[in-house]
């Protein structure tokens, strides 16, 4: 990796406990643009093996909101999502440039621990990926690794309740997680992410492998979760973005003179505006199905 972007402060304030979930959810009462900024991305871009995949993303993500990232394949929305918890660090050829401030702290600053970042900023993936262990051990995995062993049973129950799974599994916590349905497995993965008390939940197409009923359960869950967490979701399902997101960011692909393709952020606004009166013609063409 290249040298990380300049860090503006010396103390990683953004990763202090007061910024964590449950510390305050007063901002949910505020208008969207007045809520605390959790992520402040400025000219954020990514290259893979020298090839630019995403450029110049200026985007704020506010606390206690669900922000949806939409756009055609290859537009960089998942790449952007992975910047928010430094998942791109795991790809050797990936280089992140620009700035990604998390609670005003440079997420790519030299004193920031990527493991700590991923604890505060959890992620749920497209395909449910429970460990081949019991339901209990799946949720307990993160707290055990991080040494959060006090009151573990309560922590597990709370995480499962927040993930709207407790009532379905409370009598079989010691049974294997792989015996759950796809929708239950995905909610288990959400519970696993919640068990380490994150501040932000990132979801990369969390419902694309699920049936409509499981999808509805996850969508309801997203709405519940935003009272305590900040949620960012990548989705190919525009109606899902319209249903669950407070803010929607539309990414698209710019083609250079040499034929190279690069993801760009076209427009970000309230979901209502994006789906009734988008400002940009490219957004209009995409959401109405005339492009992409």
């Amino acid at each position: 990796m290249d040298a990380p972007p300049t860090t503006t402060g010396t103390q990683p304030r953004g990763l202090q406990p007061e910024t964590m979930a449950g510390a305050s959810n007063e901002s949910i009462e505020l208008p969207m643009d007045q809520r605390e900024v959790v992520f402040d991305c400025r000219e954020l871009g990514v290259r893979y093996a020298g090839v630019r995949a995403l450029r110049d993303v200026d985007l704020n993500i506010h606390r206690n909101t669900v922000t949806a990232l939409i756009g055609p394949s290859g537009c960089g929305k998942s790449t952007f999502l992975r910047c928010l918890n430094r998942m791109n660090d795991l790809i050797p050829s990936a280089v992140v440039d620009g700035a990604c401030l998390y609670h005003d702290e440079d997420l790519y600053g030299p004193q920031i621990d990527a493991i700590e970042v991923r604890k505060r900023i959890g992620m749920v993936f497209q395909k449910p990926n429970p460990f081949p262990k019991s339901i209990y051990d799946n949720v307990a995995f993160g707290p055990r690794v991080l040494g959060m062993k006090d009151g573990l049973d309560d922590r597990i129950e709370q995480a499962l309740r927040r993930a709207a799974l407790w009532d379905e599994v409370k009598d079989r916590l010691r049974q294997g997680a792989l015996g759950l349905s796809g929708g239950q497995q995905q909610r288990l993965c959400i519970a696993r992410a919640l068990a380490v008390e994150p501040d932000v939940i990132l979801m990369d197409e969390p419902c694309s492998a699920l049936d409509p009923i499981s999808t509805a359960a996850i969508e309801d869950l997203m709405t519940d979760l935003k009272s305590e967490y900040t949620v960012v979701i990548v989705t190919h399902n525009m109606q899902q973005a319209a249903r669950v997101a407070d803010m929607t960011a539309f990414f698209s692909v710019d083609q250079g003179e040499t034929g190279t393709r690069c993801g760009v952020l076209i427009e970000v606004d309230s979901t209502e505006k994006i789906f009734t009166k988008p400002s940009n013609e490219r957004t209009e063409a995409y959401v109405t199905g005339r492009f992409g």
């Binding site: 319209a242 789906f275 009734t276 009166k277 109405t288 005339r290």
Partner: protein
């Protein structure tokens, strides 16, 4: 590109345009029936109103189907919502035209000056109303966001003629019962023609919303 969806949207808009042209005919014929006591015009009014109702029902079904099956958003959603409101305005305008035609009665020739003033005002209102409906539908067809202001100005002229009718009737000195009865019918006719102008303005305002997303529409009454 969703070709089938675009075809359905085009059908919806074409249906609205046809309904609008029929509504303009209904208003125009109703005015002839009212002031010229033309039986053919009376029949033509009711025939046009009947066709408008058919279009109205078809449009309702198209809107329902588009919303249920295509989940339109952005400009497409605004088009569907505008069509829903415009459909209602046109149906009401055509219904008002039929009401006007049903009020057609020759004046009793008891107060010639006042009768002429009232008849001329009604003819002006009817002609203006039909022109406004045609203009509003042209506006919709061209997706012209700026015509609502012009329609509002025309509507003021219609309102003024309606006030003239009311003032003339209220100040009539002749108490002949036949004249009073005729005048009361013409007062109602003026009211229905005045509402035609309002519905034309609604069509233009919904067109502005369809094009710009900015709503300037004011809720219209049930008539």
């Amino acid at each position: 590109m969703r070709v089938g969806f675009q075809d359905e949207l085009d059908e919806l808009c074409n249906g609205i345009q046809a309904e609008g042209r029929l509504t303009a005919i209904a208003v125009s014929e109703a005015t002839r029936a009212l002031v010229d006591w033309s039986v053919q015009a009376f029949d033509a009014t009711l025939a046009a109103e009947s066709e408008v109702k058919l279009h109205y029902n078809e449009t309702e079904v198209r809107v329902e189907t588009l919303l249920a099956r295509q989940a339109p958003v952005a400009g497409d959603l605004r088009t569907v919502l505008a069509a829903l409101h415009i459909n209602r305005s046109l149906e009401r305008a055509a219904h008002n035209a039929a009401r006007v035609a049903h009020l057609a009665t020759p004046p009793p020739r008891r107060a010639l000056v006042e009768e002429a003033v009232i008849t001329d005002a009604l003819r002006a209102m009817g002609d203006r109303g039909a022109e406004m409906v045609r203009t509003a539908i042209d506006t919709f067809e061209r997706r012209d966001a700026n015509a609502a202001r012009l329609l509002s100005a025309l509507d003021e002229l219609v309102d003024r003629e309606n006030e003239k009718i009311a003032d003339t009737i209220l100040t009539m000195e002749n108490n002949d019962p036949e004249l009073r009865k005729w005048a009361a019918r013409m007062l109602f006719a003026g009211r229905w023609l005045e509402r035609v102008g309002d519905h034309a303005v609604n069509v233009a305002e919904r067109t502005t919303y369809m094009v710009t997303g900015e709503s300037t529409a004011t809720p219209s009454g049930p008539t």
